[in-house]
Symmetry: C2
Subunit: 321 residues, 2 copies
């Protein structure tokens, strides 16, 4: 029997990888900067790091099974091809799965990074065993993944789960980083929250906000927003409120469409208990029927930055199990 699988979280900035047991224990781990330049040598380096990681466990190599990779961008998950990825410059139609399989002599599985994160949640996270689930990742942008009847929804072309680009505003939409308008991400993604913070502070001519001074001397962060709101800063409380309402509206849309048993919030923006509490308060006013909130949990992820590699490993172990 195989003792473990390998999970890789391939990000635009860094690559995290781990050897993971079927119980979700990470028995060896490595993180390094994503290699710049063409894809072929980058994947060769990735394979080298995987071999080294497997060696570092001291386990017989044959007791460690398949390799799962969660990657950003547009994929062909069936063929393991990265079609394009805005965060991986020069990666166009890269047969990542085949290249890794050839270099390592192991089965590989390439999945979307958000799909990997949700697999981590249902296999190892607070949502363990939940068969109908939505994950919303609230980072710089907003991503997500949908699980129906225990299976991650990938869709016809592997493009499902772009929940951050659900449009929630038509008449006065804010621009989103993606080029569209009125997306959930334009209200609940960290980059856009920061933009709204700066706008609000520019309007704060009476210098009421606790962040007015800092904004003149240092870059603001979303953590500043939550700190100031917790201190009772009215302007920042208003922004948290607006963000929570947008999120709650997006979540209500997902409840109506899919009636999940849980929605899990992950990513930096989800780490504000104030925000999450406000989302919980808004939800009852935004659902068609109270039954959507019965036997339902809104949770934050407990897996943190390991979610991606854990989920990629879960996908790999699914291959070999």
């Amino acid at each position: 029997m195989e003792l473990a699988g390998v999970g890789i979280d391939l990000g635009g900035t860094s690559i995290k990888m781990g050897v993971v047991t079927p119980e979700g224990e990470v028995i060896a781990r490595n993180e390094f900067a994503t290699p710049d330049g063409p894809a072929r040598p980058a994947v060769a380096e990735l394979a080298r790091q995987v071999r080294q990681l497997i060696n570092s466990t001291g386990l017989p190599a044959e007791r460690i099974g398949s390799v799962g990779v969660g990657t950003p961008g547009i994929l062909d998950p069936q063929k393991g091809i990265v079609r394009s990825a805005s965060n991986l410059v020069g990666w166009v139609d890269v047969p990542l799965g085949d290249w890794l399989a050839d270099a390592l002599g192991r089965k590989t599985k390439v999945i979307n990074d958000a799909h990997a994160a949700v697999m981590g949640e249902i296999r190892f996270g607070t949502a363990r065993g939940i068969r109908d689930l939505v994950l919303l990742t609230l980072g710089t942008g907003v991503g997500g993944a949908v699980v129906v009847a225990g299976q991650v929804v990938v869709g016809n072309r592997g493009l499902a789960g772009e929940l951050g680009h659900m449009r929630i505003e038509m008449s006065r939409p804010r621009p989103c980083g993606c080029g569209l308008f009125g997306c959930l991400e334009a209200y609940a993604g960290a980059k856009n929250i920061l933009k709204r913070m700066h706008e609000a502070l520019a309007d704060d001519i009476q210098e009421i906000s606790l962040l007015k001074e800092k904004s003149k001397t240092a870059p603001l962060t979303v953590e500043d927003l939550f700190w100031a709101a917790n201190e009772g800063d009215g302007i920042m409380l208003g922004l948290v409120d607006e963000t929570a309402l947008a999120l709650a509206a997006g979540i209500a849309n997902l409840l109506h469409a899919l009636n999940p048993k849980a929605v899990v919030l992950a990513g930096g923006v989800s780490r504000s208990p104030l925000l999450v509490e406000k989302v919980r308060e808004y939800l009852p006013d935004l659902v068609l029927n109270p039954a959507y909130l019965e036997d339902f949990r809104l949770e934050t992820s407990g897996l943190g930055p390991d979610a991606g590699l854990l989920g990629a490993a879960a996908a790999a172990m699914g291959l070999s199990g």
Copy 2:
């Protein structure tokens, strides 16, 4: 082998039922007004009509299998219970499945009416064989159903598919009949389209609209809207445009979340080629990536008013097959 199943489309106004072959041929059909009053005698009458319908085929009763019922309201599809239904007065916690099974001596399956319609589409309609599909029913209100990997998504409590109550407007939301605000139905449901027609005509002080005269003497319909828009009525064209944009935004949200291979539009409002064409024109500007529209079809339903009973029969045949 069973030759056919029975499908029932239980509506608030009328009940349609049919004996349906596995190929989707309706070999006997009946339609009658939904009985008023308490549920028990209404279900007894339903059973009597099913027996009569089966007899009318002249087939041996044992060659006709299970009975499927598509019903409105909040259900417990596992137990076959209608929890509540605003269109079926007095139906509270009605064990419809058990009552019918007892009365008929046949297996029964009770499903949501929109879930029945989508089963009709994937089994017998233009979407036959498509495994990732969204149905939007554009009637008085807007309903829907989602199919993922060939299975209708029912969700944790059977409440999935309320696509009409996807919120697409936050800052200036129109009220929806459901009590919420800014729902897709508030823009694309016939009742709300009519409301907007009346508002637009009230604003039409120069009497430009072709419908201005008629609106003073006769009740307007959505067919009037489409007629006038086709004649080039600028005010009505504006309304069709607004409706198409709302629909396209809702569809784009569903593409991003689920990446289906097809979206099927059904119901009266979908029978305007002008509207459907405008939705098609808007979609490319509203998706995150052109890949969502590759290998994708936006279609109108070919099943018409039989979709519900055909899908209920398909669900029933799934039971016995």
